[in-house]
């Protein structure tokens, strides 16, 4: 299923790998929806089944689209952020020592990681002919807007290119803004914070394996590292 987003055109010229992965995601989520129809619970899929928009439930195609989005939006994003997180902390010993010594810094560290490594590019269709800095964009064209430059904008953030793990305020838009802002932001924040705290409680010291190829991949939606191999010496104490 990973292949849906991580296979490039060159690796998959006729799109067969990606189509297969897409189908697998639809089947996986469809099976969950079928189950929740019979056994409704207190979960998001049950909530979507109960949802009424303009007085009617979602049809199968709408529900399928939303579930597909939910699957992809929640998976690669957090995985990618974990890659950047551990790359950063492996390379910045001072930051790593500070959060290991004081786990109460983890919430603001997560915010600064989200700002500094804003991985998502959002997509929109233009509703009118416009021109941006001399570049014409036709009505209905699809534009991809990386959020990272906004989150390193010196007009919005003092010393924007500096990583400050206790930065406040930190009005970043790594989760987007407006009506489509990330529905998973609270879960994502929690996942990242738990990962930081639990990892550093057990493994405070580590480094990126020498000569590792992190494999930067600038995707259409998510910018990620393909792998971040870490090395550490297991502690012998209790």
């Amino acid at each position: 299923m990973h292949q849906s987003q991580h296979t490039s055109h060159a690796e998959d010229p006729d799109g067969r790998i990606r189509d297969g992965a897409d189908r697998a995601i639809h089947e996986f989520m469809g099976a969950i929806a079928e189950d929740r129809k019979k056994n409704p619970g207190n979960d998001i899929v049950s909530g979507l089944l109960e949802c009424r928009v303009d007085g009617r439930p979602f049809n199968d195609q709408e529900l399928g689209g939303i579930l597909y989005l939910l699957f992809l939006a929640g998976l690669d994003t957090v995985a990618s952020m974990l890659g950047w997180t551990f790359m950063h902390l492996a390379q910045h010993t001072d930051d790593r020592k500070r959060i290991t010594a004081d786990p109460t810094l983890s919430a603001s560290t997560v915010e600064e990681l989200l700002r500094y490594y804003s991985i998502v590019s959002i997509t929109r269709h233009t509703t009118a002919d416009v021109e941006m800095k001399g570049c014409p964009i036709k009505k209905g064209d699809r534009v991809i807007v990386p959020l990272a430059p906004a989150d390193r904008d010196p007009k919005a953030f003092p010393d924007a290119m500096d990583f400050q793990l206790d930065r406040a305020p930190n009005r970043h838009i790594a989760f987007g803004a407006g009506p489509h802002r990330c529905v998973g932001s609270h879960l994502a924040r929690l996942e990242l914070r738990v990962a930081l705290e639990e990892w550093h409680r057990l493994i405070p010291d580590y480094a990126i394996a020498p000569e590792a190829d992190l494999g930067l991949r600038v995707g259409m939606f998510v910018t990620s590292l393909q792998s971040v191999p870490l090395e550490w010496t297991p502690s012998t104490g209790g």
Partner: protein
């Protein structure tokens, strides 16, 4: 000091609530549920931090 949340701008990032859960109440689905409230003495700084942190610029402060 009063703090105001423009409900039409709030999209539920809950950054205000993370700064002060008692001052910035949320509704059941995570949107701000306050309109204009008097800031209790001593919490002015929380109000200012929330104003500076809201990604939607939904929070404003009125100083009397």
């Amino acid at each position: 000091m009063k703090v105001r949340v423009d409900q039409s701008l709030c999209t539920g990032h809950a950054r205000c609530n993370a700064i002060d859960p008692d001052l910035f109440l949320l509704d059941d689905v995570g949107y701000s549920s306050i309109d204009t409230v008097e800031v209790p003495p001593g919490l002015e700084d929380h109000a200012r931090q929330a104003e500076a942190n809201c990604p939607e610029h939904a929070i404003s402060i009125e100083v009397d």
